[in-house]
């Protein structure tokens, strides 16, 4: 027992040493996500004339929205900067042009003064048009600046009345600005057209769409979305991949985002030292309607064009994202290399291609959002060709060992008997 304890302690010490070796800081990594600004949320409320309709729990839609806003304002976490924007609140007339510009900031995005915000909400009366597209553009401007997470919560009861500016494309363009903005939508009416439009807006930015039929559902959902914004999230860094390995941007460990058009390939480069392991995973999101079969290929290629390893994924059906990854452990150099010679890093080219195809009538620019995680860890995983330190298990193993031991014992017995006999005759 004592011996085994000592053995265990020895193994522990060895392991601790190993762990310490692994935990030695790697190269200085560009990680600029450490200091994060507070999250920002802009609530965009439809105050168009149709909000007068009394079909939510027997009350008007506007009343339900006001009640929900009051409760949400009470429950907003301290560190969230919340703003409120209205659409269709001021212009009651018939002029489409003016009506479609009717969006105003009711409460600016910033530290929240609950009473002031509530007073502002109380003044709202259902009035005008439903200019969703322009309101989203303005809301995105409201949230400009800072590196915290940003979220727009759009509450509407009717589809956009300001064609040809398609709010869905507006949303996609806002997302393509690379400011990490998500738009969540809530529809107050179970109406097919509204549903299609709002879910399209949500899909374009990785947000969610909810159809609301009761006042408490509205409150719960908006609260949930505001809370979601408050959760700290790693914000990816923008990068632009090249068309070939030669001009590709060099990446270090971190989270990156890019855009990749249909049929386009993107190249990135990562330097891997001997004894390090490269881990890369990539996701391409389908932020618009795409054909139901699709795929993604991530290849690690040497600068000379030899493929090292690849990750592939394919799928069909409705999806938000398709993703794959790969691992490339680079072996340690042989021992005979002198210690003072710094080993040269190998440049690994990463190629990302997708086989999404756009559904009929879908715009192909800007490209699909691409998210990439790069991890270069010290020490590649090692193994030898024996199974688990050459240890075995199972009854066959026991049987063989017992038999071998028995035979050895028998042999030894005979030998010693023979030796005694020899000794006796002499």
């Amino acid at each position: 027992m004592i011996t085994s304890k000592r053995l265990a302690a020895g193994v522990c010490a060895l392991l601790a040493a190993l762990a310490a070796g692994i935990a030695v800081p790697t190269t200085a990594l560009a990680d600029e996500t450490t200091a994060q600004d507070p999250p920002k949320v802009d609530l965009v409320l439809d105050v168009s004339g149709s909000m007068r309709a009394r079909d939510i729990d027997g009350d008007s839609r506007m009343a339900a929205a006001k009640q929900a806003f009051n409760e949400v304002l009470d429950a907003t976490p301290e560190d969230v900067q919340l703003g409120i924007r209205t659409l269709g609140a001021d212009y009651p007339g018939d002029d489409r042009k003016t009506g479609c510009k009717d969006t105003a900031q009711l409460y600016p995005v910033g530290p929240l003064d609950r009473t002031e915000a509530k007073t502002a909400v109380a003044t709202l009366t259902p009035t005008g048009w439903t200019p969703i597209g322009p309101a989203l553009l303005k809301a995105a401007d409201d949230l400009e600046g800072g590196n915290g997470s940003k979220r727009i919560v759009l509450i509407s009861d009717g589809e956009d009345t300001c064609a040809p500016l398609d709010p869905c494309e507006v949303a996609r363009e806002i997302a393509a600005r690379g400011i990490g903005l998500t738009i969540d939508t809530l529809g107050l009416v179970p109406n097919a057209k509204l549903r299609v439009q709002l879910s399209c807006i949500a899909e374009a930015t990785g947000g969610t769409y909810t159809s609301v039929e009761h006042a408490d559902e509205l409150t719960d959902r908006v609260n949930q979305l505001v809370d979601r914004a408050a959760e700290p999230v790693v914000v990816p860094k923008g990068v632009e991949g090249a068309g070939a390995c030669a001009g590709a941007p060099a990446l270090q460990s971190g989270l990156y985002t890019d855009r990749e058009e249909f049929g386009q390939q993107r190249w990135y480069r990562v330097d891997v030292l001997p004894g390090q392991e490269l881990r890369a995973s990539v996701s391409v999101a389908a932020d618009r309607r795409v054909d139901p079969s699709y795929g993604l290929l991530l290849r690690a290629v040497t600068v000379h064009g030899r493929e090292i390893v690849r990750g592939e994924a394919a799928g069909n059906g409705r999806t938000d994202v398709i993703s794959t990854g790969l691992r490339y452990p680079k072996a340690e150099l042989d021992d005979d290399v002198e210690d003072d010679v710094k080993p040269a890093a190998e440049t690994v080219c990463l190629q990302v291609t997708n086989s999404f195809s756009p559904a009929a009538g879908v715009k192909t620019t800007p490209g699909l959002p691409l998210e990439m995680t790069i991890d270069v860890v010290d020490g590649p995983g090692g193994s030898s060709d024996v199974a688990s330190f050459g240890l075995g298990r199972g009854w066959w193993l026991l049987g063989v060992l017992v038999l071998a031991g028995f035979l050895a014992g028998v042999l030894w017995g005979w030998l010693s008997r023979w030796r005694v006999a020899v000794w006796r005759t002499n």
Binding site: S4, K5, A8, A9, V11, L15, A16, A19, I22, P25, T26, D31, A192, R195, V196, S199, G206, T208, Y209, S211, E217, D220, R228, V234, L255, R279, A280, S281, S283, V309, R318, D320, S323, G325, L326, R327, T373, V377, G379, G381, G382, S388, F389, L391, G392, R393, L398, L401, L403, A404, G405, F406, G409, V410, L411, W412, G413, W414, S416, R424
Partner: protein
């Protein structure tokens, strides 16, 4: 006593695990000698979990299971194995959770979706499991995809992964220790069913497969996304997991209750050691059989 002594000589969760494993090995070996068969359950449960384990600070207890789900890989909600997490969402949402799985375990993901009465048509629900490299992992068995009829109240989904190995070839897609992502969604939906509120429940449990799945080799670091950035800060075992007090966002801060296994322990040590002991006993027996008792019978007492 045992634990205290060991904690002085070593550090960290990993070490605690080693101590436990070693103690488990000894106990299990004795048990085997007494005629039982070794089973992973024995190796796991025999050393009572010492109270000092709490010091390693796994942030979430049974009581505060997550009630939210993430909406992307990046925002996936972290759950512990054995925890029942819930989430309210809308049909059409993509719900993401992540959980840690360690070598030698075979995780099973079980999800239940409670559908609203107002669902108008049938929908197919699906869970997909991805590993730390966001590679899709195959389900050995379990209803990964299920069609919910228009009048169904709930859908039960389940997915049993392959056994998580400590190491695999870089070209292989074997499950490796690290973070796993679960995505729950409806794969086909009419527009009429978009946005309807649903409730989802998820739970991940692991079966310990034991030494039969042991391989020789281990990863330098578990497949945890962003681990190259988190190992930068001094790896204090206590502070690293307190993600709720540190505002710094990390991609994944998950770790199994007792730390990542280093990949060296398996019940094969017990099998081989016991085999050696039995072989020695058999050797003594064989010797006694042929050598006879004491002196050869023909030798006269006076010789």
């Amino acid at each position: 006593m045992r634990t205290i002594r060991m904690r002085r000589t070593t550090r960290g969760v990993r070490a605690t695990r080693v101590v436990r494993a070693a103690a488990g090995a000894v106990t299990a070996g004795v048990f085997l000698l007494l005629g039982g068969t070794v089973s992973p359950a024995v190796a796991d449960s025999s050393p009572s979990a010492s109270p000092s384990d709490d010091g390693s600070g796994d942030g979430s207890q049974e009581g505060d299971a997550p009630t939210e789900a993430g909406t992307s890989f990046r925002t996936a909600t972290e759950i512990e194995q054995g925890q029942k997490a819930t989430a309210s969402a809308s049909t059409g949402d993509y719900l993401y959770w992540s959980f840690p799985a360690d070598a030698g375990g075979r995780p099973t993901v079980k999800a239940t979706v409670k559908l609203p009465d107002s669902a108008r048509s049938s929908a197919t629900w699906q869970i997909d499991v991805y590993d730390g490299l966001r590679r899709r992992q195959a389900c050995q068995y379990g209803a990964q995809t299920r069609l919910a009829g228009a009048d169904a109240g709930a859908v039960n989904l389940s997915c049993t992964l392959r056994t998580v190995r400590a190491w695999s070839e870089q070209w292989a897609n074997d499950p490796l220790p690290g973070t796993y992502y679960v995505r729950l969604t409806a794969t086909d939906l009419g527009t009429a069913d978009l946005g309807v509120p649903v409730n989802a429940e998820i739970r991940v449990d692991s079966k310990d497969v034991g030494g039969s799945a042991a391989v020789d080799g281990s990863l330098a670091e578990p497949l945890v996304p962003g681990i190259a950035m988190t190992t930068e800060e001094p790896s204090g075992d206590e502070g690293a997991e307190g993600s709720d007090e540190s505002p710094t966002a990390v991609l994944s801060s998950l770790e199994p209750d007792d730390g990542w296994a280093s990949g060296w322990w398996s019940d094969r040590w017990v099998w081989t050691a016991v085999g050696g002991i039995l072989a020695a006993l058999a050797g003594v027996g064989g010797y006694a059989l042929t050598r006879g008792s004491g002196r050869p019978s023909q030798v006269p007492p006076g010789a």
